[in-house]
């Protein structure tokens, strides 16, 4: 080892950042499951109505007539506000399943449940009315709140001319940065799967922690100020449903299938958090509550990483401010659910749609399980965030969404690491995101 390079080893200091967690509305205060979901829909409609009515007046003139459904008159042009309900033939229905229990095959699980016979219905507090006309039924989904302009015809159907959704403000534009600052997004690590190749994951960890790459790369990765793990640290395989049906005395000595996976996750996290702050969001297959909003994974699950303050267990959805950038996102369940109930094929478009309609998870509580909230609907977007992401999607896509009012938001879909071996690196200075792929031939 006499031929060591004569140069002094260079140290790159990782810059610190201002951080504020704004997810308190996703933390469950009480756990009351006695209530019905009617209150959540009521709260959603009442909260969003004021904003939507104001938006409708701006869009269609302040003299537009706004009617409740019971006040509708035939052939009078007016505006109605309510919640969408999409009636779908193919939607899995628990009552149907029970009635068909006797010697009929259950409905097959499908990728999408849309069909041509779907109808869109608008509901307010008292009534509902079928919508036809200039509205894309297949792109809408249950739970969205909107104002529609049109008139009721003799058929009893409402002929739509135009639609208006919630208008959100953006209190501050993108902050300007002098130097490059990166946020690294990963989702769907899928640990705990037997015979899994962890080479790609280790490469990624080493790159972020500065143990790999050339000097330029090390300098670049030293500017990663935060890593966001957007759900599904564990694999689907760790969900052992048979335990639920086995007698307790048989499964008492058996180790839970998630234990190995959590240990692996702890190892990965320990390497990361000793270098850089990490926000870990729970996902569909992670050991926390399954319904939205998912509560943070408990720190005691990670005995090694736990000693670092940089380990930050957060909720799903997650809302935070990093160096002035408002970053909001989910582990992707809401987007995947909307994907199943609309004809929209593009996950990024679905994400954009939820931003435009002002609601992160419109299909909750209809087809996506969520807590029966009473006092607030935390999934209503409070403002247009600077970065809006969804984890566990099929591929990486990004888009800078911009409107005529100058509101800007960077939309990101984060691919599953277990399927694509890639993460997403976002430069906060230029607001450019790129995928970093860790797969190569020799690893297969």
């Amino acid at each position: 080892m006499s031929e060591m390079p004569s140069k002094e080893p260079i140290t790159f200091e990782r810059p610190s950042s201002l951080y504020e967690n704004l997810s308190s509305r996703f933390q469950l205060q009480d756990r009351n499951f006695q209530r019905q979901y009617a209150h959540l829909y009521c709260e959603r409609l009442l909260t969003m109505r004021k904003n939507i009515v104001a938006g409708a007046k701006r869009k269609w003139g302040s003299d537009v007539i706004i009617r409740k459904l019971f006040e509708l008159k035939n052939n009078e042009k007016c505006c109605i506000v309510g919640t969408f309900y999409k009636h779908m033939e193919l939607k899995p229905n628990i009552l149907q399943e029970i009635s068909e229990e006797h010697n009929l095959i259950p409905q097959p699980k499908k990728d999408k449940y849309v069909s041509d016979s779907d109808t869109l219905i608008l509901e307010d507090e008292l009534q509902r009315i079928c919508l036809v006309g200039n509205i894309n039924i297949q792109k809408a989904c249950t739970g969205m709140v909107a104002a529609v302009l049109g008139e009721e015809k003799e058929s009893g159907k409402f002929h739509v001319e135009d639609t208006c959704f919630m208008h959100l403000n953006q209190p501050a534009p993108f902050p300007t940065l002098e130097e490059d600052r990166y946020i690294f997004f990963i989702s769907g690590l899928g640990l705990g799967q037997e015979g899994k190749n962890l080479m790609g994951l280790q490469l990624m960890v080493d790159l972020i922690t500065g143990q790999l790459g050339s000097q330029e790369e090390q300098e670049k990765y030293s500017k990663v100020i935060r890593v966001i793990l957007a759900g599904d640290g564990l694999s689907y395989d760790t969900q052992d449903k048979t335990v639920l049906n086995t007698a307790k005395y048989l499964s008492r000595k058996v180790q839970a299938t998630t234990v190995e996976g959590v240990k692996e996750l702890d190892d990965v996290l320990t390497q990361l958090v000793s270098n850089v702050p990490v926000d870990i969001m729970p996902g569909e297959f992670d050991p926390t509550n399954g319904i939205l909003p998912q509560q943070p994974l408990h720190r005691c699950m990670f005995p090694q990483a736990n000693i670092y303050k940089t380990l930050n267990c957060v909720t799903n959805p997650y809302d935070a401010k990093v160096d002035g950038f408002r970053i909001l996102g989910t582990s992707g369940q809401a987007i995947t659910d909307i994907y199943q109930y609309t004809t929209n094929e593009n996950r990024l478009e679905i994400l954009e749609e939820t931003l435009k309609t002002g609601h992160i998870a419109p299909t909750a509580p209809d087809t996506l399980a969520c807590y029966p909230f009473l006092k607030e609907d935390p999934f209503i977007l409070p403002e247009i965030p600077h970065v809006y992401f969804a984890g566990n999607q099929s591929k990486f896509e990004s888009k800078l969404w911009e409107d005529e009012a100058g509101r800007k938001c960077l939309l990101l879909t984060i691919p599953r690491f277990s399927q694509t071996q890639s993460g997403v690196m976002l430069n906060l200075r230029t607001m450019e995101a790129s995928a970093v792929v860790f797969s190569s031939e020799f690893m297969q």
Partner: protein
């Protein structure tokens, strides 16, 4: 023998329980006698009460304030207040004035299982 001892204990217990029940009965009867002395007061409070409950029932049945089943009247009132629906103030006073009476606190469907 231990077994016999156990059996004895069980039979011993029975009359004792009976005593407690009859004691409870007596005190309740005494209470009724005492309150029966002023029937007029009781009648007026009962009339007042039925009027109160009528107001509360009307509040429950007003659709503008949203669904009422499964939540307390106060929670529903506060939701209406939050969304500027101007819920009647006397309803809140009635609820707050009778904090220990279930008939005032919960909506009219409270006895139905959801």
């Amino acid at each position: 023998m231990p077994r016999r001892k156990k059996q004895q204990l069980l039979t011993d217990k029975y009359p004792q329980e009976k005593k407690i029940v009859s004691k409870y009965f007596k005190t309740e009867q005494n209470d009724r006698k005492a309150s029966g002395t002023d029937d007029v007061v009781r009648l007026t409070t009962e009339k007042q009460r039925s009027e109160d409950l009528k107001i509360l029932k009307e509040f429950d049945l007003n659709w503008e304030y949203g669904p009422c089943a499964g939540i307390t009247r106060l929670e529903r009132w506060e939701r209406a207040e939050k969304h500027d629906l101007n819920p009647p103030a006397d309803v809140k006073d009635l609820i707050l004035g009778h904090q220990d009476e279930d008939d005032y606190l919960h909506c009219l469907w409270k006895d139905y299982d959801l």
